[in-house]
Symmetry: C2
Subunit: 343 residues, 2 copies
């Protein structure tokens, strides 16, 4: 195998490492993500492209995930690097932190040319307990369905799917070159967006985003390809590939919810079972059957009642619970699948 030698060093040229964080919290029963919303001189080269996108967003809404460079001299580990600048800049105390993926496609960052270096970005998912207004005022918490309106099925199938996305995808599919290719495209649409036979799988956030990107009906695709906008789904784009990173985080978190007790990182220390359920629903984007959710959670042995009750909601008071951080019981949060269904 090739080794690292003088030559390798010379050929590699400059590489910059950026750390991009998807910081998630749930407040008011909505999933929030920390977003930076300013025109950054470092992003200037993108500005034009974004501004061209027309009615989907106005000039001042350049939205990005918080990110910062990784300083190899300063940080012993990548995780430490991330925690470092996030806690420094947002005063947020990150609990759960997980590395997501390293993004390194050429051209993902237009600054590469100025810098004369390739910019890799290591994406992180972090869960925060509460969504406080977040220090500096530059950062703010946004409902993540702002960027992915088709992912929220809590109020039934989103209109944007039937009205915009499905027609758009169908058109894209039929524009393929060969009949075989057309069939192939329809298959992929069904597999990711569901159909009569295949039910919607909430974990496939990234696959859906990538299909929309490929079909060119998401604004970033048009920006990146320098196309004019024939049609684009009404949703908020983000700078660079940040919406892709967010999609990765959403899919990962939704998946993890099913086999690891990560919800507890998102709710306050004590909570009612219904509050817990609503946090799960916010993340997974669909409703759960209340009685079955309760059965599942109680059976898991991950929570214990506090003996105290809470009656802010009009009806019978609900007992509050706390998470029992039992390392032994941590194997499963919620069994094979969450109890989907109506309330």
């Amino acid at each position: 195998m090739t080794d690292f030698g003088e030559q390798a060093v010379a050929e590699q040229g400059g590489v910059q490492i950026g750390l991009t964080a998807v910081i998630v919290a749930v407040t008011d029963d909505e999933p929030r993500v920390l977003v930076v919303r300013r025109v950054d001189h470092a992003l200037a080269s993108t500005e034009e492209g974004v501004a061209r996108e027309g009615d989907a967003l106005s000039d001042d809404t350049l939205e990005a995930l918080p990110y910062g460079p990784f300083y190899p001299g300063r940080h012993r580990t990548l995780d430490a690097g991330l925690r470092g600048w996030v806690e420094e800049q947002t005063q947020l105390d990150l609990g759960y932190v997980e590395q997501l993926y390293t993004f390194g496609d050429r051209g993902r960052d237009p600054r590469e040319q100025e810098l004369g270096a390739r910019v890799l970005s290591i994406g992180y998912l972090a869960l925060a307990q509460e969504a406080k207004p977040a220090g500096a005022g530059e950062a703010l918490w946004q409902n993540w369905y702002r960027y992915f309106p088709w992912e929220d099925w809590r109020a039934g199938k989103p209109e944007i799917l039937t009205q915009e996305i499905e027609p758009g995808l169908d058109e894209w599919a039929t524009q393929a070159d060969s009949p075989a290719e057309i069939r192939e495209r329809f298959s992929r649409i069904d597999a990711t967006f569901g159909s009569e036979e295949v039910r919607w799988n909430e974990d496939r956030v990234l696959e859906r985003y990538e299909l929309l990107y490929e079909a060119g009906i998401v604004t970033e695709a048009q920006r990146d390809r320098g196309q004019d906008m024939a049609f684009s789904v009404h949703s908020h784009p983000m700078v660079l590939d940040h919406r892709r990173i967010l999609a990765t985080a959403m899919g990962r978190l939704r998946g993890k919810l099913k086999y690891r007790p990560v919800v507890f990182e998102l709710v306050p220390p004590t909570f009612t079972l219904f509050e817990l359920q609503k946090a799960v629903e916010a993340i997974s984007g669909n409703l759960l059957h209340k009685q079955n959710f309760r059965r599942l959670v109680e059976k898991s042995g991950l929570v214990e009642g506090t003996g105290k009750y809470e009656s802010r909601t009009g009806g019978r008071p609900a007992e509050t619970y706390r998470y029992v951080r039992d390392i032994l019981a941590e194997r499963l949060t919620a069994g094979p699948r969450l109890p989907v269904g109506k309330r």
Copy 2:
């Protein structure tokens, strides 16, 4: 958020990106991983440490995963970079490729000092159809249980667990400072290695390795800390953090087996159901109930019989099947859990 500016560039210093590949195949019912086994000048600084390890391995068995530098000028994407040098050097045609994790702890690579650069390594998992002798002769296929003998439960609970690991871990736990810390350590041991209440979870390969590392009873831990070897589990170490990367790959693959049809990447185009089963068993490290496995696979709709039979095994001939690459059926390989049990 901090941006990339001149200053950032200056402070970042050099960063080298290495791509490390865990290339897996199943042959003769054993999981194999492609390993490089030579004394590399780039690894010279590690050589001493490894040689010191005594009876666990001899001088000439410096084992490493195949790795190569990432050339930002040459490769458009990280995946392309990996495929590039792997296919170039091993003549292997990689099918399934998945990014695993980016490893970046300071000190993970002793060459950092010579190079004056931080070396990050992006780990990849790749699945190959067959384990051919692999070109150059430098690389060879090794049974992955060579490095993780405690992970193979196909012939019952491995002796190394009862004879070496469990005593070693127990000793480590009791050496903790406070009673609380002792309890904590025992909890972690139970959670990762199982106990009466907690059954062995085959996915937790990395957690187990990291616990062994922390307990100092794995040779790399002693090498990295410069300790002398009081006691170490009889298993083969690897260069740098490659055994950790392999553990990550094993855990990821074992997990994926349960909800994605990845086994089919590891078996030939046609196979009997029992061959398929044995591939799953090789990866997951435990035996499955034959009749139930068959039921599960048939029900999944992922395979179809070819109408041809194969009788190499003495008994009644088995029908051969092929994988139906049905994008719609790809949701689940094997349902929530694989049918564990005796044959």
